[in-house]
Symmetry: C2
Subunit: 437 residues, 2 copies
């Protein structure tokens, strides 16, 4: 065997949600081979997991990695001002190297906080793919498609969006390419319909922003006579391959549509709170059997990519919103961040839980910390007390990507310097140099 | 000089809120002596602060340190069930050693996340004082006084509460003892009035919980014909020495009373959210000139003591509550957590900012982290992107308490073991052993 993890507390996230005490795990050829109280045989690498939690790596189902370069440039602004005055002008000047630097930076932050798989929509996706390859992460990528209602552009854009599907969807790869029409308000009906057709043909996921703000819904009702999900359903867009991020402003009727079409939700509590745009009806999604997963969104609107923080904020938001401490309990939130993330990305046969036969995307959380003492409820500790920096080991696809908090695959000082250099270049090109301290 | 901090980014939190680039700081006999671009002379200890933020340590204005032993035992429960079924039965069995262990654990967690001063209300306060002495922290302590309306007990309880005032209030001490009547609904009018008199006589602070839940307000209106702050004002309790934690459910009229009496607020966003009890009107407090500070509350209802997390959650909560990204901006939140905390505790002549002549309660935040790259707005980075574990050095009262994340004053493994042992003892005595994993 390649790796033997000995005597850990294993939070499996399997169907029975078993938590195993003093169990060992063997990993061979990237796959979890055995989970037992004791495992015999020689391993190339042995990890002592006593006083450690062993769990599936987080699946971050909605992010824009390269926006890490915009971290902190424009906080405390409402969404439209934030987009129009700050983000879009910078995105217009974006070049491949900026995206490469931002994506590497994002991969580094994610590895260091226990995320092993992410779902990214942006531009220059070859660069994001490169950062996945180099960092050892697992990632789902989509080129952000917009035609702003101009149907004459739809074919070209879809062609661009479809390119990576052929290029990256190779068996055994850690990269999966999918389709990313940005949102119903930035894509023409033609682009949306053709995207749905292409997704069906290639059996691929569609990653889209829906119903993020109240204004979006109001505009949709005014222009299309329908709310965003009603509109998407009406044009035949909604199927079980659709992962809708945000999904904040929805009606009861739309929740039923999501359930009927088996659409998945990527919930982004921190971003929604920071931009002040709204609270997604997560308790209602749960009640109606709509699958909820968790994402950080980009670092420009979060401003971090730490899924531990996202879990805590998720639980807190819904408790205060409903004035009820019992809604969205820790167990549910941990599901959102692991197995539900895998299901949302159509990867639950491969990842999202620690089970024999699954790919070894596994993290270890060190319990020898004041914030995790005494050890009462491990699941509660993960959601309410742990932080990304409590992760000490990260294994992705059976490879040790981080050991004792040292990332093996990419060089931290080099990645940070490159990110700063590329941020400076981009800010100079946008006449926003004063944004750098 | 004792300590020389060289070439840091200094977030002063002085009156002009100056941020100084490449400045150095000298510390002698516990006091900040100079803040200049260059400082000459020999120092016993030199810290290279290039690529680091130098800032005042956090002041956590409302906590119950020893409740760290209850971390994770009873999550996702509403306040009254949480108190009646879980917390109170354990508190009944509480002994001195439990409090000592929990307080040491809390001090360790706070030091490791950059808090240098806290305001604690609980029982066995000699043990909390001991943990302050040993850990090197600065702390304000109060014995939690309750008589549950039985005025015959008021004198004895006040005597107990007043003991530590004589014992600990010695010039130059890091410990300050104040009065802690628990809440208007757990104290008789006699106890409250006599507390106010004693506080006046000894020129000391009063730390009290007010208007935490809607139920508390409803009961107050029913039983006393007044809302909690109206009632307290009516009995002459409210003065500029009152620090009211939570202050969640208040009317416009009460906000005016708080301003008129110069009462200070300790805001506890995470605890309020986790218990689902309500959103304090922080934008309204700011608008009306009521001083707002920040506290984590106890680890049983948070479940951590990390003030970085508290700052982020504070900003997010009010943005979503008002559906406005611009309310409670990063600069304000950083004030809550530093200089306003010092003002709330009557310590702003001594701590809360990095200024010449103030006591050296200073922390260093390492910027060489993926989550803090690129460096755009340092204040935004502190509030939205940094975590407690990004703090690498903690100086309290001019002594280096943590260096390169290693706490010098108390031994981490020993503190964690002692906390686990005492938690086990307490849980056994309460027949709650099954709560430990």
């Amino acid at each position: 065997m390649d790796i033997l993890i000995k005597n850990g507390i294993v939070i499996t996230m399997d169907k029975e949600r078993r938590i195993l005490k003093d169990f060992s795990i063997s990993i061979t050829d990237g796959i979890i081979e055995e989970i037992k109280p004791e495992i015999k045989g020689e391993a190339d690498f042995v990890i002592d997991a006593s006083r450690k939690i062993v769990m599936p790596g987080f699946v971050n189902t909605h992010t824009h990695l390269a926006m890490s370069l915009f971290r902190g440039v424009a906080d405390d602004l409402p969404l439209m001002r934030w987009l129009q005055e700050e983000i879009w002008p910078m995105e217009k000047k974006l070049e491949a190297n900026h995206v490469y630097a931002g994506a590497l930076l994002g991969c580094l932050e994610m590895i260091k906080t226990g995320t092993t798989c992410f779902n990214d929509m942006y531009f220059y996706m070859d660069e994001v793919a490169r950062s996945i390859e180099e960092s050892g992460m697992r990632g789902v990528i989509s080129y952000a498609m917009f035609d702003f209602g101009d149907e004459s552009k739809a074919d070209d854009i879809l062609k661009e969006g479809g390119k990576s599907i052929k290029k990256y969807n190779v068996a055994g790869s850690r990269i999966k390419a999918v389709l990313g029409p940005h949102a119903p308000y930035t894509c023409s009906e033609k682009l949306l319909v053709k995207t749905a057709e292409m997704a069906k043909k290639h059996n691929t996921l569609i990653h889209i922003h829906v119903a993020e703000t109240k204004e979006e819904v109001e505009t949709s009702k005014k222009e299309k006579g329908k709310t965003p999900f009603e509109y998407l359903d009406n044009i035949g867009f909604l199927r079980d391959n659709v992962l809708a991020s945000h999904s904040t402003w929805v009606t009861e009727k739309e929740i039923k549509i999501l359930k009927k079409r088996n659409v998945k939700v990527a919930h982004n509590p921190t971003s929604n709170m920071k931009i002040g745009c709204g609270v997604a009806p997560i308790p209602e999604y749960i009640e109606n059997g709509v699958l909820v997963s968790l994402g950080t969104d980009g670092a420009a609107s979060n401003n971090s990519l730490d899924m531990f923080q996202e879990m805590k904020i998720c639980a807190l938001l819904h408790k205060i919103n409903k004035r009820d401490a019992s809604v969205v309990p820790a167990e549910k939130v941990l599901e959102f961040a692991t197995i539900n993330g895998a299901r949302a990305l159509g990867l639950d046969n491969e990842i999202g839980s620690v089970e024999v036969g699954k790919k070894a995307d596994v993290i270890l959380v060190d319990l020898d910390r004041p914030n995790l003492t005494p050890l009462t409820n491990p699941v509660s500790h993960l959601v309410y007390s742990a932080r990304g920096c409590d992760v000490d080991t990260v294994i992705i696809d059976g490879k040790i990507v981080m050991e004792d908090r040292r990332v093996r695959t990419i060089d931290q000082p080099q990645v940070l310097n490159f990110a700063m250099e590329q941020a400076r270049d981009l800010y100079q090109k946008t006449a926003k140099e004063d944004k750098l301290f």
